[in-house]
């Protein structure tokens, strides 16, 4: 019998069906992965299992009995605990206080702090988490905070643990630890729903995988019977070669030269970049692949080494100077540091035209007529629908926001384009459009860098790949060596620099 099961579970919002008649079941001691793109319905499904939202129609069965959760607390009382991406921890309180928040052991009217600390230490120890119960949560790493969050699940009789993108910001070692822990829960008969879009990671622990697309279930397959190409095809509805364009890379003159670059968590990186090539940069979260390029851009303090752009030393230049001298960096976080959300797409694109050199350099005054014309040309180029151009960017979908972000890099004539996670949270249709823009830049003779946690993206776009592990360049792969196995081998490389 299934631990928890859904029958024709449906969630409708005015004008949208977020989840359409999905059947799902979880057995005791099973790791069941929910896989799909952003907006596929994964979050909607788990928010109903977690008790955060009520279904429009359909049933949830717990141990074969229909249940309705009144709230998240109600679901928790029935043994279903969800660790969301946004933790429910109070940063200023201690670990023990957080674990017992709302459950404080009391002596008379007063909280019994000593008992609380003792029991918290006991719970942490039992789960194998090495965390001081007296530590303040704000001072913990993201992985440790996640452990505290998980520990909170063990107040009652835990039956189902739901983990929403749990590895999103963990380092590889922390991921290993998390997976060991998940396997130990499995042995205790606890069912685990695991939401992720990282195939390379979840193949290590998954028993079955349910793929969702556009709110509907595509299918459920045992991990043993499938592979990542098949899963991607299920997720996107297209074969891989329909998504990625063929890029005719023609590496020319050297444009960027990095020598012994060091920063916090980045150990002496050296590489060169040529015009007309696409350099892929792969690595796990925390491997330093983003940090390397943020250091080059002057966004992180440089502790040593030098950076040359077209023969000029730009090691000490400010970010603004670096961008102006021809290095464009596309941020991985369009909301926090990419776009001004309250402004329209036109305003956002206009800013880069005002600052860039496409409409002539410098000058005090802005030629708004020229900016308007060029904004329109860029919007056409990135295929942003006319009706979206005058709306605040916050109202656009993730895919369209990313098109605006891409449009910003056409505001100037850069020599090097660094795309940091260029398609994060973007649907497949938009992805292939964005890949065509990358192809166009590379074939126009620009040097392009694609930093991505999405391995197929790196493998299919790049003509040369740098792999990073633990703050070092662990490999440089070209030609026939550019395979998933090779890259993965260097993901976990402990030996250090190879290049």
């Amino acid at each position: 019998m299934s631990l928890i099961e859904t029958r024709k579970l449906t969630k409708r919002y005015p004008g949208v069906v977020a989840l359409d008649a999905v059947d799902f079941d979880l057995a005791e001691g099973e790791v069941h992965v929910l896989f799909g793109e952003n907006g596929a319905g994964k979050s909607t499904l788990i928010s109903m299992l977690a008790g955060a939202k009520a279904p429009t129609s359909g049933d949830i069965l717990l141990n074969g009995q229909p249940v309705a959760f009144a709230s998240v607390a109600d679901a928790q009382a029935k043994g279903i605990y969800t660790v969301f991406q946004e933790f429910s921890l109070i940063p200023t309180l201690t670990v023990a206080q957080n674990i017992f928040l709302g459950w404080e052991p009391c002596r008379g009217p007063f909280v019994d702090h000593r008992a609380m600390r003792r029991r918290a230490a006991g719970m942490l120890g039992e789960l194998g988490f090495d965390i001081d119960p007296n530590a303040v949560v704000a001072g913990l790493s993201r992985a440790q905070q996640q452990m505290v969050e998980i520990t909170k699940a063990f107040h009652g009789d835990l039956k189902v643990l739901i983990l929403d993108e749990p590895t999103a910001s963990l380092t590889d070692r922390e991921v290993d630890h998390l997976f060991k822990f998940v396997l130990s829960l499995k042995r205790r008969g606890i069912g685990i729903v695991y939401i992720s879009h990282r195939i390379q990671e979840f193949i290590r622990i998954a028993d079955r995988i349910t793929v969702l697309r556009d709110g509907a279930k595509v299918g459920t397959v045992p991990m043993a019977d499938t592979d990542d190409a098949a899963l991607v095809e299920m997720m996107t509805g297209r074969a891989i070669d329909e998504i990625y364009p063929r890029i005719d890379a023609a590496p020319g003159a050297e444009v960027l030269k990095v020598e012994g670059l060091r920063s916090k968590g980045l150990h002496s990186a050296s590489f060169t970049l040529r015009a007309g090539e696409v350099l892929g940069v792969a690595g796990l979260v925390g491997s330093g692949k983003s940090r390397l390029f943020r250091t080059i851009m002057g966004l992180l303090p440089r502790h040593g080494g030098r950076v040359e752009l077209l023969g000029n030393d730009i090691s000490d230049a400010s970010t603004a100077q670096i961008i102006t001298s021809g290095l464009y960096y596309l941020s991985p976080d369009r909301k926090a540091e990419g776009l001004d959300l309250a402004k329209t797409s036109n305003d956002n694109l206009g800013l880069n035209l005002v600052m860039g050199d496409k409409l002539g350099k410098g000058g005090w005054f802005v030629n708004w007529g020229a900016v308007r014309r060029e904004t329109q040309a860029i919007s056409d180029h990135v295929e942003l629908q006319p009706s979206y151009r005058t709306k605040p960017v916050s109202q656009l979908s993730g895919g369209n926001q990313q098109k605006v972000l891409f449009g910003k890099c056409f505001g100037q004539n850069a020599e090097v384009y660094i795309f940091d996670e260029p398609t994060v949270g973007v649907d497949m249709g938009t992805r292939s459009a964005l890949y065509l823009l990358i192809k166009e830049l590379a074939e126009a003779g620009k040097a392009v860098v694609v930093i991505s946690s999405d391995l197929p993206e790196v493998l299919n776009l790049a003509n040369r790949i740098l792999v990073m592990a633990q703050g070092r360049l662990s490999a440089e792969l070209t030609g026939a060596d550019m395979t998933e196995e090779q890259v993965l081998r260097f993901f976990f490389d402990e030996s250090g620099a190879v290049v």
Partner: protein
């Protein structure tokens, strides 16, 4: 049914005006209706010209305040910049007039530049603190306003500085050019310059960008620290100009000038649709917002509302405007 459609249409139109311009049109219409009903003298050409002249000082300061608000901060020290300018310029003029008794205009010029210099320091300290040391604008400008006010009182011992050259007050306090009071002309020139700056120059665009999303601005090749500093410096210099005009008006250097102008200028901006989150605001609306505050004070005077109750009303109005600003920002982000 048609009347319902019409009503929905009207609500929709009002909503559009609210999202585009903010709360100002509604407040303005409300004030006009109420004060016209309360006093027959209110809606006369003579009175409105009067209000226009009285509003000059607030219009100027509000434009500086707007610049800082759009950059994502705010400036509580505008009153101090005014007081410091008044005291320093007056002391400077008196001192210089003693040295060059025959060259009144040189003395005035020296005093003026000393006043600007003092305000420049205020603006620079604010800007450096906010941009380079990441002090919150609230604490930074609050602290500076205490420091500046202390200096102004220290320099004068709390006694107004008198004995300014007559030409100064005659020209900048009470003078007219082509029949228009000089302060009004100065304000008009400033409005035009400010409008050009905000809407036509690259620097103005940068101020909007920094307030809208400072990280995105940084990644768009903007020197965000310089831009922030510039906003505080320009704000202080405009306040300084206002301080000079006020000094000429009262014919002495006074450390208590500009006491309530920080609150009034923030109120004028917020009512005029400048977002407290930064990135949003227009010069022409702010001018109208400052005019509205002056109109309100004038109307309340005519309606014989006591000055104490005026303070109560102004504070309440500011809070109300901020509440509406929250609502408006949510409407902008979410769309209809």
């Amino acid at each position: 049914m048609t009347s319902e459609v019409k009503r929905n249409g009207a609500v929709h139109a009002l909503r559009t005006v609210f999202v585009r311009v903010g709360v100002l049109p509604f407040f303005l219409v409300g004030a006009l209706v109420i004060f016209t009903a309360l006093s027959s003298k209110f809606l006369t050409g003579q009175n409105l010209v009067n209000v226009a002249r009285q509003s000059v000082y607030l219009v100027l300061v509000s434009m500086g305040q707007m610049l800082v608000l759009i950059s994502g901060g705010f400036d509580l020290s505008v009153g101090t910049a005014i007081a410091l300018t008044s005291v320093v310029s007056a002391l400077g003029m008196v001192w210089a007039a003693g040295i060059f008794p025959d060259a009144v205009w040189i003395a005035i010029l020296i005093g003026t530049f000393m006043g600007f210099g003092a305000a420049l320091m205020v603006g620079l300290v604010n800007g450096l603190g906010v941009a380079f040391f990441n002090v919150s604008p609230f604490i930074m400008t609050l602290g500076v306003s205490s420091v500046g006010a202390g200096f102004a009182l220290f320099l004068t011992g709390g006694v107004p500085v008198s004995g300014l050259p007559f030409a100064f007050a005659d020209t900048f306090g009470f003078g007219r050019l082509w029949g228009v009071p000089v302060p009004v002309l100065v304000a008009l020139a400033c409005i035009v310059l400010m409008w050009l700056f905000m809407s036509r120059t690259r620097l103005g665009t940068q101020v909007y960008a920094v307030g809208g999303n400072i990280k995105a601005a940084h990644l768009s090749a903007i020197n965000t620290r310089r831009t922030l500093t510039l906003a505080y410096v320009i704000c202080a210099l405009i306040a300084s100009l206002t301080g000079l005009l006020l000094t000429a008006r009262v014919e002495s250097g006074e450390a208590n000038l500009g006491g309530s102008i920080a609150l009034e200028s923030i109120a004028a901006c917020v009512i005029a649709g400048v977002s407290l989150r930064g990135g949003i605001g227009r010069v022409e609306n702010v001018v109208l917002g400052a005019f509205f505050i002056a109109l309100l004070q004038n109307g309340m005077n005519l309606a014989q509302v006591s000055s104490y109750m005026q303070m109560v009303l102004l504070g309440s109005l500011l809070i109300l405007a901020v509440i509406f600003d929250q609502l408006r920002y949510r409407l902008i982000l979410s769309g209809d």
